[in-house]
Symmetry: C2
Subunit: 87 residues, 2 copies
């Protein structure tokens, strides 16, 4: 999953805005400023720079991520794409 | 904010799927099964039943919520509305 993310988004970085740890669960609010090459979440981003948040829970077991519950702020990306369409 | 939510969504309940507490921050994954009366998040829900998750961080100070960072799974709602349109 992550490998494909880095192929599709060459400048992918995970910026941690909030981190809450209560083992076995870690919750984080991540901020992304990146330029997906093609489609992202079904949206035609095509190399435009987008900024968005992801609120995510990771459940760990045996030092590995076992389950992920993620919500990405896709409407924020849509708003940015529509904004740049109008320019 | 909450009062308006309950007016617009009479059957609103907050079902906690995940709760992570690390004061002053609480993180939660909430699940909603509800029927917003009219528009919700800009979508024409109009009394249809929708189910969606919200991943949210609350920062507390003096026993009150001081800041909220929320991401709602709006695409899940859109998918349900499009599904019911096709019926």
């Amino acid at each position: 999953m992550l490998e494909r993310d880095f192929i599709e988004i060459p400048d992918l970085h995970f910026n941690i805005e909030i981190l809450v740890s209560a083992p076995p669960v870690i919750a984080s609010r991540l901020r992304f400023d990146c330029t997906p090459k093609g489609k992202f979440l079904g949206l035609e981003v095509n190399g435009r720079k987008v900024s968005f948040a992801e609120n995510v829970f990771y459940e760990f077991r045996d030092k590995k991520i076992r389950q992920v519950w993620s919500v990405i702020d896709k409407p924020a990306i849509e708003a940015q794409l529509h904004g740049s369409d109008r320019k």
